[in-house]
């Protein structure tokens, strides 16, 4: 029963703010929204503690949702260990971002609407992770997509933003199609959508079973859409059109990780399908590298972070693909901390700069925004994998797991983390060091954000700094908390790696990171090199900054043909053939009626004439025969 309360709180928050809207006192709006998420967080913590102290799982079925013939689905919730971790991330980070939004969005005329949407998002996200079957997950899955759409297009007066919102929804829909087909196949195979039943039955299947391979591949198509993997990733960078807290909550910390959650949730299936798992890993790896290289040449502070998110999601999928499910969740958690932090910091910067997002017009902000600067630095250190910061442990674990899977993958992935450090420090130096390059007006008004914004930053910074301790590597001789916690539901491959390898890995990464930090500082701060303006870009730089021209390619491959096909179909078949035929029949009847009309002239003479003719004809007929 208590499970039901978790999603209900944010739903009430949404209803209150959505209904009363502007008639609510402005001060209250933010509190209603934030506290509703905090309440859910409280329950999540309570459940988490119960699980820690040995409870197995919680289950609550509200009612039979759909039942028709042999098709039956419950409206049921379940909290097991995996769900508990997700709940804590969603409600915990969610709460911080809600509080931050009070400061960030306060001046917006549609502030209540914004908060309502945010609550609605949390509601659907909770539905997604709480559902005890695939249909519930799908319901949440679609719901978060809707909220993402609404929030990307929140400033709807700008047509480009609407375009971005549409793109996000439609790309996700393409993924959903795969997901849906996967669901049908699941029901056909197992006769149930319930996670436990499906996983229980699946474990009797042999490895390499073709149906399970098909199911897992189709489900992963859904994950490609939601978690922005190649080829369905292009919506995520565009989604940055939404307000920054949205980018932090939806497009970094929670919604986009739904795909990873789904794969881990279905880990029994993926473990039975080595081909699918390998596919997941390869797509993840390709995305990780591809997006990282694009991130090198972006000049919009949020775009850099967006490509970085795409890339980091790739890391999670690599982990899931090589069977290290708890590692994938580990990185999901730490990433939620530091990426939410980085986005919120960028929001603080943008706030201070009056909406400026281009790092070529920033510089030297360290002086003016001390807290933002410090917290951003922590985030950067964490994502780059500097030892003891959160990202170090999780990324290290992914690398170690990949190493035992395939050396080539490991090398490429390690190279990817080098790029990550480069683009992150490029961003850091260009934003906070050097001369201020903005306008005079901006300089005069540069200010640190209010407490309501900086406190969430500080909390997240602490989490980004120490969050990694939930999963210490073996060489520290401490238990790996997360692995042990998740073992009953989704442990996957053990985290045993040779100790020598661990030491080498840690040592190498320290050296490489030191070199990167030093050289990027030298390049951007000491020499003061600035990224060239868009027009000056040449060669590879241009290809990178234009994102490999994928958007243009997709427009040519999908968008145009879709319009052309529907245009041809409509003009030729609908208007040309079908409508013409119907009109033809209509005219035919009219013509016939017109012709026959002459039979009814209304003149007695002609009737008489016809009568006589008819009479004669009958007579002749009778006589002849």
């Amino acid at each position: 029963m208590i499970l039901l309360l978790i999603p209900l709180f944010p739903l009430f928050g949404f209803l209150i703010n959505g209904w009363l809207n502007k008639s609510m006192p402005k001060g209250l709006v933010g509190w209603v929204a934030s506290l509703s998420v905090l309440a859910s967080f409280g329950i999540s913590v309570y459940l988490f503690i119960q699980l820690l102290s040995g409870a197995n799982e919680f289950q609550f079925t509200v009612f039979d949702w759909m039942a028709a013939g042999s098709f039956q689905v419950d409206f049921g919730f379940m909290v097991d260990r995996l769900t508990a971790i997700m709940l804590l991330v969603v409600t915990g980070v969610g709460f911080l971002i809600h509080v931050y939004s009070i400061g960030y969005m306060n001046d917006d005329e549609d502030y209540p609407r914004f908060m309502a949407y945010m609550n609605l998002f949390v509601f659907f996200m909770l539905l997604l992770v709480l559902g005890d079957n695939f249909i519930m997950m799908f319901a949440g899955w679609e719901g978060v997509g809707l909220c993402s759409y609404l929030l990307i297009g929140f400033w709807f007066k700008n047509d480009n933003y609407n375009e971005a919102a549409n793109k996000a929804f439609i790309m996700n829909r393409i993924g959903d199609l795969g997901f849906l087909l996967g669901l049908f196949l699941i029901y056909q195979t197992f006769g149930s959508f319930n996670f436990k039943e499906v996983m229980g039955m699946a474990s009797t299947y042999p490895r390499y079973d073709s149906t399970i391979t098909a199911i897992t591949l189709l489900l992963f198509v859904g994950a490609m859409g939601k978690s922005a993997q190649i080829p369905l990733y292009t919506w995520l960078p565009d989604a940055m059109a939404g307000p920054t807290p949205v980018s932090a909550l939806i497009h970094a910390a929670t919604m986009v990780t739904a795909g990873v959650y789904m794969v881990v949730r279905s880990n029994v299936l993926y473990a039975l399908a080595p081909f699918s798992s390998e596919f997941v890993a390869v797509i993840g790896l390709a995305t990780a590298l591809f997006a990282a290289t694009i991130g090198l040449k972006q000049n919009d502070i949020k775009k850099v972070l967006a490509y970085s998110t795409v890339s980091q999601l790739g890391y999670m999928f690599v982990a899931a693909g090589v069977g290290a499910y708890s590692t994938a969740i580990f990185h999901l958690v730490t990433h939620a901390f530091f990426k939410a932090l980085l986005f919120l910091c960028s929001g603080s910067v943008i706030h201070a700069m009056y909406g400026e997002q281009d790092i070529r017009n920033m510089g030297g902000l360290k002086k003016y925004l001390p807290i933002t600067h410090l917290t951003f630095l922590i985030g950067t250190l964490a994502i780059s994998g500097v030892p003891v910061f959160a990202g170090f442990f999780s990324k290290d674990e992914i690398l170690a797991m990949t190493y035992s899977h395939s050396f080539l993958m490991f090398t490429l992935l390690a190279f990817g983390s080098v790029i990550t450090a480069v683009y992150m420090f490029r961003l850091y130096w260009l934003t906070f060091y050097g001369e201020f390059r903005g306008t005079k007006h901006q300089l005069e008004h540069l200010h640190e954000s209010p407490k309501v914004m900086t406190v969430p930053l500080m909390v997240l910074a602490v989490l980004s700094a120490v969050g990694g301790f939930i999963g210490l590597p073996e060489i520290f001789h401490a238990p790996h908390f997360l692995y042990n916690f998740l073992e009953p539901v989704a442990a996957g491959a053990g985290h045993h790696v040779s100790h020598t390898f661990e030491y080498v890995l840690i040592f190498t990464s320290i050296v490489v990171l030191a070199i990167i930090i030093y050289s990027t500082r030298n390049y951007y701060v000491v020499k003061g090199t600035l990224p060239e303006s868009d027009a000056e870009e040449k060669g590879i730089a241009r290809i990178l900054s234009r994102k490999y021209f994928v958007d243009e390619l997709y427009a040519m491959l999908f968008r145009k043909p879709l319009d052309v096909i529907s245009g041809l179909g409509y003009r030729f078949v609908e208007l040309g053939i079908i409508t013409k035929t119907v009109d033809g029949i209509q005219e035919g009847i009219n013509t016939a009626a017109n012709g026959l009309r002459y039979l009814q002239t209304g003149r007695a003479g002609s009737y008489l004439f016809i009568m006589v003719i008819g009479f004669l004809a009958l007579m002749i007929y009778a006589i002849i025969l």
Partner: protein, 494 residues
Amino acid sequence: MNLTLLLIIPLLTAVGVLFCRNAQQVRWLSLAGAAVQFILVMALLFAFYAARSNGNTDAFLFSERCMWFAPLNIQFITGADGISVSMLLLTAAVVLAGVLVSWKEETMAKEFFFLLHLLAFGAYGFFISLDVFTLFFFLEIAVIPKYLLIGIWGSGRKEYSANKLALMLMGGSALVLIGMLGMYYQSGANTFDLIRLSEVHIPYATQLQFFPLLFLGFGVFTAIFPFHTWVPDGHSAAPTAGSMFLAGISMKLGGYGCLRVATYLMPDAAAYYAPYIIGLATIAIIYGAFATLMQTDLKYINAYSSVSHCGFVLLGIGMLNQTAITGAVMQMVSHGLMTALFFAVIGMIYQRTHTRMVRQMGGLLKAMPFIMTVFFIAGLTSLGLPGFSGFVAEMTVLMGAWQNPKTMYRIATILACASIVVTAVYILRATGQVAMGPLKQHDEPLNDARWYEKLAAFILIAGIVAIGVAPFWLNDLITPGAKIIMQKIVSLSR
């Protein structure tokens, strides 16, 4: 519960309206009539639940019969199973909402509301008839007022559209009539009594001969491809309430007829022709969706999308299994509510902006938030968002469809499923254009919804959400009805 009340009330209202002295009286009387109908149907719903839970397992409840025309053995038989009750619910909701949105109809108000109630009368009669002849009689009653509604109160190419609609629907009726007579004589039962007909086994050859006529005839009403072109023209030319009735109720007459008359009485032929039905349904789903992409007029958008959504009804019927048939009926109810809501809101927009072209609109969310929220809800139902009825209904149809392992059916199901992407594209394009972007200049200030418009929207949205969130009450209604149809299909195919 006497079902004949459902005929008397609309008829009384219709006649009463003619004696009103001014528009004010007309609309209040209409509202009262529609409200009484709605309450009656709700009472019927609960009476039905009560009877079922008391263990009444008759196929049709509240049945009554009297001889109408003895020489031809035509009877007046009424009765309702869960499927009819759900259709009656839909009808009552749409009628009530339709009356509310027509609140400000001033031109020939008397005649307008008279025709509306006459339409309602026809629809109620259709759904409670258990005699094929009276069923046909009510079907015809539901056609003629539409012609007048479009011809007199319509807009745009109204004469052309009214003609087209009447021609195609009459064509469909003609097919039904032939099929009906064929059944009467060739079944050997010499009766139109639906229950009696369902007990005799109509010879296989007869079934093969007359099933297509009946199915296509009713199919025209539910926009079976390629007989769908009356839908866009008819809907767009009709006045708001007319479009709501057309799409919300009339198109369901067809689906109900296909199921209750054609499939139920001639299951062998249904099994034989199933591949063709599914083929046409799939074409309708995909073709309708693509055609919608090309539309720039809001009414045309909804009309073509109706073609696509009604394809799911036919797909469900064609799959001939219990899940799919239940889904098909749910889709009828869901689509009826959703499309009525859509047309209602389009009417509200048109009244304020005096245009239906999406390119001439923009940023309306700012100017009329309530109306635009309703518009969004209708759109989201259409694109199958969980929580709204469209998802539940289409999911059930698709789940049923997937149970059919034949390759061709599989392909049809996957294609139907793929339509969700195209649907998202056209819905988002339309809502984006209309609601978002910069606000365009309009001659008059744009007011948000009035109380009657809000009430109409609430009634329909309540239905959509009730089905979307907790569809079990509807399932409980439909399942026994679908089971009876299924039993016939299964037992006869053995």
